[in-house]
């Protein structure tokens, strides 16, 4: 099974504080915390809680602790100092614009509990380990025997004895096992109710007073769940993603920004990837992945062209369209309309093949574009133009 801790996947990642809200809603004991966007707010929150607090950067990235984004504060003033350093800090290229201020716990032991949808068993699968607070991938590599796994039948959900069996791998004390099993069951509820594809508590701690609590939370949501979970969809934070990707999602396009200079606009995800690969094969570098889908709607083509041309490093734009059910003449009309609506300063080369190919080529040629029918030819040309 894929290890969970580095996945960002087909999923919408949510922040720790948001995942903790989902956990609390399922009944999982989570220490109190609030989000601050300024150092002043951080101090006020620490003062409200009293005692020791932890100030934690809220970014969609692992390794926050190592990057200096998680700090223990003895006083509200110290929480303020930490917050002022962490806010604005960059962690793996992402700028921190909010911190979670949470009460500090007296930790006796740390464990790991996670659940994700496993591709191989096609079912939610739990992983637990008594080695908590570290990357579970690392545990899987160095000490696989320390991990206990369980496949859940998604029709019945996690059964009570299964939760106990998992908790038994973590603790010896019956009272602690009981608390942990309850939390594991609640984690499954939070996972299902949020439409998650991954949820993890790392670490799950036992306090010196013998209480089991979740002090860190991570969750990714299956994009396909969002249409029926508005409250979860509202958790999307676009502040640390490129503006072009936000715009693409709003336009219903699948887009990923890359570092090259050949803009790619393709119908279908597999063909889009193969086109990027071919750009590389001919000595170029793709500027993006973009799947315009099966639609030949000019609005989508306009949005696609706007997104691609907004990237200053793009030196040429390549369309690769295989008309199946999508008709080439429709796509050609979409491209012509789109180029009338927006100014494009870089050369555009187009490959159209499949259904109504001749009609499509005619439309494009009339509008002054040259159309190709071979994928290799058009990619080679686009690479040449980007280098010119």
């Amino acid at each position: 099974m894929p290890a969970s801790s580095t996945e960002s996947d087909y999923r919408m990642n949510i922040h720790e504080y948001q995942a903790k809200e989902c956990f609390r809603a399922a009944g999982i004991p989570v220490p109190p915390g609030d989000v601050a966007r300024t150092a002043d707010e951080a101090e006020a929150i620490a003062r409200k809680f009293g005692g020791m607090t932890v100030v934690k950067a809220q970014v969609h990235s692992g390794g926050r602790g190592k990057a200096g984004g998680v700090k223990l504060a003895k006083t509200p003033e110290e929480a303020r100092e930490h917050a002022s350093r962490i806010l604005g800090m960059e962690i793996k290229g992402l700028t921190v614009d909010k911190v979670l201020v949470t009460t500090a716990e007296d930790i006796a032991s740390e464990a790991y509990v996670g659940v994700l949808v496993d591709r191989k068993t096609q079912a939610p699968t739990f992983m637990v380990s008594s080695e908590g607070g570290v990357d579970i991938e690392q545990v899987a590599a160095t000490n696989p025997d320390a991990i206990r796994k369980l496949t859940v039948d998604p029709r019945y959900g996690l059964l009570p004895h299964q939760a106990l069996w998992l908790a038994n791998a973590l603790y010896d004390d019956p009272g602690i096992i009981k608390q942990a099993a309850k939390i594991i069951g609640q984690l499954y509820v939070a996972f299902v109710n949020s439409g998650a594809s991954m949820a993890e508590i790392n670490p799950l701690i036992v306090t010196k007073a013998g209480e089991v609590k979740a002090i860190d939370a991570k969750m990714s949501i299956d994009d396909s769940e969002l249409f029926r979970r508005k409250e979860v969809a509202a958790m999307r934070d676009t502040s640390d993603e490129p503006a072009a990707e936000t715009k693409a999602r709003d336009a219903g396009l699948s887009f990923v920004k890359l570092d090259g200079d050949v803009g790619c606009c393709v119908n279908g995800a597999g063909l889009a990837m193969a086109t990027m690969d071919l750009v590389k094969y001919y000595g170029g570098e793709p500027a993006n992945f973009l799947d315009i889908g099966g639609s030949s709607n000019p609005d989508k083509v306009v949005a696609a062209l706007e997104i691609i041309t907004s990237d200053p490093s793009v030196k040429s734009i390549l369309f690769n369209i295989f008309g199946g059910i999508t008709r080439c003449d429709d796509v050609a009309n979409g491209i012509v309309t789109a180029t009338q609506r927006i100014d494009i300063e870089v050369p555009v080369v187009i490959r159209l093949t499949g259904t109504n190919e001749e009609l499509g080529v005619q439309i494009l040629e009339k509008a002054g574009f040259s159309a190709y029918t071979s994928m290799d030819e058009v990619v080679e040309k686009a690479v040449q133009l980007a280098k010119a």
């Binding site: 039948d153 063909l271 990837m273 690969d277 994928m375």
Partner: protein, 294 residues
């Protein structure tokens, strides 16, 4: 011969009255697929009119459709919110093969639907797939019919348009196909590479197989090992996503490199290690197949 669908396929279209369902029903009928029934709850008793005035009865439930028409397969064009229910209903109706075209079905819904179908011995293809076509016999789904031709090549792919690209090139050089199957780009799919390879190996008319994979997961690696240990017929491969960055979803929900797992390089290596010739470009597939058949 062909795999999964042929002249004996008797198809029900679930969601026949929707925009996509009605359009593709017409296309399938035009190709010669025996569409024997449609299902749209609340529209039972109505009739779907296909090309040339051919009439298809519409039923409220799958159960009625199968009882009245002796259907043995279904194809699903319903929206994501209802797709899993459509699979449950189909799997309980007596059909043995269900093709789910719908994209964007929640993964936890599919985990339940796949388990349910497996228990009933029902094969699901997809979801988020273009379907399949056995040239000259039957087409189920959305694959464009004009790019295929009858012949000896089996083709299986996780992609839609990339499949068309490969099929088109084969057809252009006179290499027709027994069946072209798009297994879908989702993380949880009902029919995988190994299922298709098993069927192609058993199909007497298939002489060589093209397998088109992409980044994400380990299905290709397992399929490669299967080819080595279980297949006598030559297999030619292609993997899309050499230039895909890790951790980013490339359109398909399942097309993602997780950590260091699921990379194109890893899959290409698995193919090569197991005797599968790998095309560097889609256009190279044709030459490799010709070599394999020579």
């Amino acid at each position: 011969m062909a795999i999964f669908i042929d002249n004996d396929t008797r198809l029900v279209v679930q969601g026949i009255t929707g925009r996509d369902g009605s359009f593709h029903t017409g296309q399938m009928m035009e190709y010669g697929t025996q569409v024997v029934a449609g299902v749209t709850p609340g529209k039972g008793g109505q009739t779907f009119e296909g090309p040339g005035g051919a009439k298809v009865p519409i039923f409220n439930t799958m159960d009625q459709a199968v009882a009245e028409t002796g259907a043995n397969s279904s194809v699903i064009y319903v929206p994501p919110a209802f797709a899993a229910d459509a699979i449950f209903e189909a799997a309980d109706s007596g059909v043995t093969f269900v093709v789910a075209i719908t994209e964007g079905v929640p993964v936890l819904d599919m985990a339940r639907a796949h388990a349910f179908a497996r228990d009933r011995g029902v094969r699901v293809l997809g979801p988020n797939c273009p379907g399949l076509i056995s040239p000259g016999k039957c087409k189920v789904g959305i694959l464009p019919a004009q790019i295929v031709a009858e012949g000896p090549i089996g083709l299986v792919s996780r992609s839609g348009t990339l499949t068309y690209e490969a099929v088109f090139q084969l057809t252009n050089v006179g290499l027709g196909q027994t069946t072209c199957v798009g297994i879908g780009g989702d993380p949880l799919i009902g029919t995988n590479f190994i299922d298709c390879l098993t069927a192609f190996e058993a199909d007497p008319d298939t002489t060589a197989v093209v397998m088109i994979g992409e980044i994400g997961g380990t299905d290709e690696q397992e399929a490669a090992a299967f080819v080595h240990s279980h297949m006598s017929k030559p297999v030619v491969g292609f993997i899309a996503g050499q230039t895909a960055p890790p951790g980013r979803r490339m359109g398909h929900a399942g097309a993602i490199i997780s950590g260091s797992a699921g990379t194109a390089a890893e899959k290409v290596k698995a193919f090569e290690d197991n005797g599968i010739a790998v095309a560097q470009r889609p256009v190279d597939i044709v030459g490799l197949i010709q070599d394999a058949l020579a």
